[in-house]
């Protein structure tokens, strides 16, 4: 049953002022807010494109997957498809936003648990500004041919590499292959099973190896990681969709909504309906 709390999904898709063929677009933070109107930002969103916010001056907040992140000069936020974001339009900041269409985004490869922000030092920040200036220049004279698309895609890929280098954990080394394989399986098949074995079979690693790798990287066992990832999906759906708790429960593979509610409360700390109400009540405000 649909309740009064349920509002239609916000259609947040890559909608460039320059037409659908533009693969990457640079726009100032305040211009984007103005283009879409402040009403647009009152609900959480789950965009299908990649988005970077590069802060030049001022301060504020941006919420990604229910974590509020401070915005500071030199800080870059990277929001990826599937993540739920909330805007704080009362921010007083000068920032540049870079949007990349899903066709571009799919080339960068994203894993949950990746850093959301990076603080760029003087040199990296200058490189970021140079890349943004180049994208802006190319977008002004854009014609939708193959080489122009490749050029802009490459500039964005460079920006992503700059972000990933700055946000990677120093001295941590590469992530264990068993962990990467398990996370990829989770992303691909998330709602199909709540049993670790189903995700591990076919990966070429034992359950024990996968679980140890998960603990090394996240501190969580494979089962706890699966539970947490499943509840993140539940939170995302509760936040941005108009589906009822029962429908979300069924969609995530739970046989009974009561099981889902109990499971959600154990992992998240409050029942799904309370979580959804809290999100609606807090809106987009910083406080």
């Amino acid at each position: 049953m649909t309740t009064i709390d349920d509002q239609p999904v916000l259609p947040v898709d890559f909608d460039s002022a320059f037409g659908a063929a533009l693969p990457v677009e640079v726009i100032e933070y305040t211009a984007l807010v103005e283009r879409l109107g402040s009403r647009y930002f009152t609900r959480p969103q789950r965009p299908s494109f990649e988005m970077m916010i590069v802060v030049r001056s001022g301060s504020g907040f941006h919420t990604v997957d229910f974590q509020r992140h401070a915005l500071h000069p030199g800080r870059v936020l990277f929001v990826r498809p599937g993540q739920v974001q909330q805007w704080h339009v009362d921010n007083t900041l000068v920032a540049t936003i870079v949007l990349a269409a899903p066709t571009v985004a799919s080339t960068t490869g994203w894993m949950p648990g990746d850093a959301v922000y990076a603080d760029l030092g003087e040199n990296s920040l200058q490189t970021a500004f140079d890349l943004i200036a180049a994208i802006e220049r190319e977008q002004r004279r854009f014609i939708p041919d193959e080489q122009s698309v490749r050029l802009m895609t490459s500039l964005f890929t460079a920006l992503v590499a700059l972000f990933q280098r700055a946000s990677s954990e120093p001295d941590r080394g590469a992530l264990p292959e068993a962990y990467r394989a398990f996370r990829a399986a989770l992303e691909r098949d998330l709602t199909r099973s709540r049993n670790v074995r189903d995700y591990v079979s076919g990966l070429g690693y034992s359950e024990r190896t996968v679980s140890r790798a998960c603990q090394l990287v996240t501190g969580l066992t494979a089962k706890a990681l699966l539970d947490e990832r499943l509840m993140l999906e539940a939170k995302r759906l509760l936040a941005h969709s108009d589906r009822t708790v029962a429908a979300i429960s069924a969609g995530l593979g739970f046989s009974e909504p009561t099981n889902f509610t109990k499971f959600f409360e154990r992992v998240v700390g409050e029942p799904p309906a309370t979580f959804r109400r809290g999100l609606r009540a807090s809106g987009y405000r910083s406080s």
């Binding site: 500071h72 996240t218 501190g219």
Partner: protein, 254 residues
Amino acid sequence: MGQRLDNATSIYLEGIRDGNYVEAINAYVGQRYTQHSTPVRDGKDGFIEFFDDFTKRNPVRDIEIIRGFEDGHFVFVQATQSLNNGEFRYVTADIFDTDDDAKLIEHWDMIAELGSTGISGRSETDGPTEVTDLDKTEINKRLVSEFVTNVLIGGNEAHAADYLAADLAQHDARIADGRDAYLEFARSHALRYTELHNTIGSGNFVAVLAASELEGRAIASIDLYRVDNGIIVEHWAVAEEITDQATWVNEGKF
């Protein structure tokens, strides 16, 4: 350990101890310096302004770094200060954030007067200093953050044994050794943590920046835990009462 820790300890030693705070702030701080030490303004200018005065008031400064580690872009430092040949003695705990040049960009700190030996017979800084078990960093951070969330914030005393060793070595001068003494102190002083702001760790050490209430007063603290074999075996703490907002010159302790 790494450039980030080096830059943080250099601010202390070259900057504050040796009095070269202008050179140090310019060498080791990045494009911003967001300050949570409430008497110090944001930015390089705020730091210089504060230490112009501090070094005049305290011409003799002895500073010793006791413990320090890096976790990603964050740095933890525990130090002692003896000012004017022992006129003032402090223990401090600091957390720094850094940019991708390893320069310092944000700073949280706690400072407390260094007392004499505590009830447990330990000092506020003694005990192991060596970082070990580097492969257990994330597991240990998870253990400590669950302890803070479930027991110190959630108040589930019954779960304390899952996290704390019965013979916990206690460096908080007000508390005796042992799990029970810790819980009893929390009960009798109405100590309740209210928010966990950051958890950073390296191997066997995990530091927690948190807000709490003690007998109705708002407290900010950086607690340091040592984990051995999946259980917390040692605890150090530096806590401050949060002063009235009118006294702050920045955005506050967190």
